[in-house]
């Protein structure tokens, strides 16, 4: 039996799920499991579709955030690298592998969220049950934490942050384009559709989540012991700390909204509903 340097033994590990807690301790991990699970299932399905990611009816320019920046795709969506038929694939892509241009995109925000400090704590509880909740017995006896492989790789988080910050700029650009409609004569003009507002909210929410990142908080000023010695970074640190204190809230709002944005554009593109124009 393990001891702590005294002659007295430590209490034995409790069985999985054993606790004297009287509250509904299982509810939060269950809701997180369902929330994450639903998003992973939907985003995987949406990524594999490879179609209906762009809505251009009435001169609109709505691109799903799951496919932005668009590398390969339909001509009207202005792909960055080459134009292939919708649902088609670049010639170098292995024929036996399913293709979607979203595959080139989703690894970055997916990696950022997977290694995010908030999400780590949440999915260790809800998916790994390690522990399922505070002071509740665990299913496994062995434990390596993030001290050893494979979870030591979570330390890569700040690299995903750098990529995620670039994505925020791209999504803001997409949101600006969503307020710019092209009339039949090919002349662009300012306009507001429901999709424009949804895409703008998406970029703002994702920005609030990304800019509240613990790694950014550290890099922008937290690594210094003297905040006032570092000039503007002291104020930036305060701003990021403000967002960081609501990191969980922004994580969930942005997660839901990015999925909803894709869903909205997908439904518009599929003709299920049309985008109302306010201006």
């Amino acid at each position: 039996m393990t001891t702590t340097g005294t002659n007295l033994p430590l209490p034995q590990q409790r069985a999985f799920g054993k606790t004297n807690r009287t509250d509904r301790w299982w509810l939060k991990p269950l809701l997180i499991f369902l929330g994450f699970g639903a998003f992973v299932v939907y985003s995987t399905w949406a990524a594999f579709q490879g179609t209906n990611y762009f809505y251009g009816v009435g001169g609109a320019d709505y691109l799903s955030p799951f496919y932005s920046p668009l590398l390969f795709g339909v001509a009207e969506a202005h792909p960055l690298i080459s134009v292939v038929p919708e649902g088609g694939r670049p010639p170098w892509w292995p024929g036996w592998m399913p293709f979607s241009t979203a595959f080139f995109i989703l690894w970055a925000p997916g990696g950022f969220r997977f290694t995010c400090y908030y999400y780590r704590g949440a999915y260790y509880k809800s998916f790994w049950l390690d522990p399922v909740n505070c002071s509740v017995g665990e299913p496994r006896k062995g434990y390596r934490g993030e001290q050893k492989l494979p979870l030591i790789l979570q330390n890569i988080h700040r690299y995903f942050l750098y990529v995620a910050l670039i994505f925020i700029i791209i999504l803001l650009w997409d949101a600006m384009k969503a307020f710019w409609f092209t009339d039949p004569e090919g002349i662009g003009h300012f306009g507001i559709g429901l999709g424009s507002i949804i895409m703008l909210c998406n970029a703002v929410f994702l920005g609030c989540y990304t800019c509240g990142c613990h790694s950014l908080r550290h890099l922008i000023g937290g690594r210094k012991d003297c905040g006032t010695c570092s000039g503007p970074s002291g104020k930036a640190y305060s701003c990021v700390s403000g967002l960081n204190s609501k990191h969980m809230m922004w994580a969930w709002i942005s997660l839901f909204w990015v999925g909803f944005t894709d869903f909205y554009i997908r439904m518009c593109a599929a003709g299920i509903w049309s985008d109302p124009r306010f201006f």
Partner: protein, 248 residues
């Protein structure tokens, strides 16, 4: 006056048996009041550690209805008294008797942290100049009352018994208070990674949940320390940047 039942773990050396005590309770009572009443009414040999009854000494830590809490700060009106209220000793430490545990491992772990090492004084009279906002960050950590509830709830200690490899949330708070102090010049980052096992923390935030002083242990102490470990050991670009940074 109404009655309530308290199911208290009794025994010594880890051999515990729950025993029920029914007492009359009054308005404003806390769990520690109930334990004292049980002591005075029939269980005079019930062992419990307590001192200030004001949530400042950190002595009366226990597990009330399965959650680590200070007994003196847990009001009966916040508990469901239709069921017996369970009171147990902390599970992360060796059991001594009834509600008393041996928390000395926390003090031994604390000794492994390098002490405060201030820079040379700024002034001829041996004093330093600091701005309030620079010390505010570490002020939060100084609120810790060493109740060890965070150590108790941490599954790395509680369930996995990594007492020799992992110093636990309370000691990370102490380390953060020193490491982030604007006057301190000591480097504790290597110790945090190698000997003090900060990598074992998987950020479940249970320590923050139970802290009676509302210290944001995970967000403000552990994660910033983890990021300093990343700077030192897992980020080649930061290392490269430091190599070319002009020395002061």
């Amino acid at each position: 006056m109404s009655k309530a039942t308290f199911r208290i773990s009794r025994g010594s050396g880890g051999d515990l048996t729950p025993e029920d005590y029914e007492i009359e309770i009054g308005e404003g009572m806390v769990v520690l009041d109930a334990v004292h009443q049980i002591q005075s009414e029939g269980a005079s040999d019930l062992a419990v550690r307590w001192n200030c009854k004001a949530g400042k000494c950190g002595s009366c830590s226990a597990e009330v209805n399965g959650m680590p809490r200070l007994m003196c700060m847990t009001r009966l009106e916040d508990l469901d008294l239709s069921q017996p209220v369970t009171i147990e000793p902390m599970h992360a430490f060796p059991h001594v008797r009834d509600l008393v545990t041996d928390v000395s491992s926390n003090y031994r772990a604390k000794k492994s942290i390098k002490p405060f090492k201030p820079r040379k004084p700024d002034n001829a009279d041996g004093t330093w100049n600091m701005k309030q906002e620079d010390v505010e960050r570490v002020q939060e950590f100084r609120k810790c009352i060493e109740c060890f509830l965070c150590q108790d709830v941490c599954h790395v200690l509680r369930d996995h018994h990594k007492h020799e490899e992992f110093i636990g949330p309370r000691n990370f708070v102490y380390s953060a208070a020193l490491e982030m102090h604007p006057l301190d010049t000591e480097d504790r980052v290597g110790d945090l990674k190698k000997d003090q096992g900060i990598g074992y923390c998987n950020i479940t935030k249970c320590c923050t949940v139970v802290c009676p002083e509302n210290i944001k242990i995970t967000d403000n102490a552990i994660i910033p320390l983890k990021e300093r470990v990343v700077d030192e050991f897992y980020d080649p670009f930061t290392k490269l940047f430091r190599m070319f940074k002009p020395k002061k």
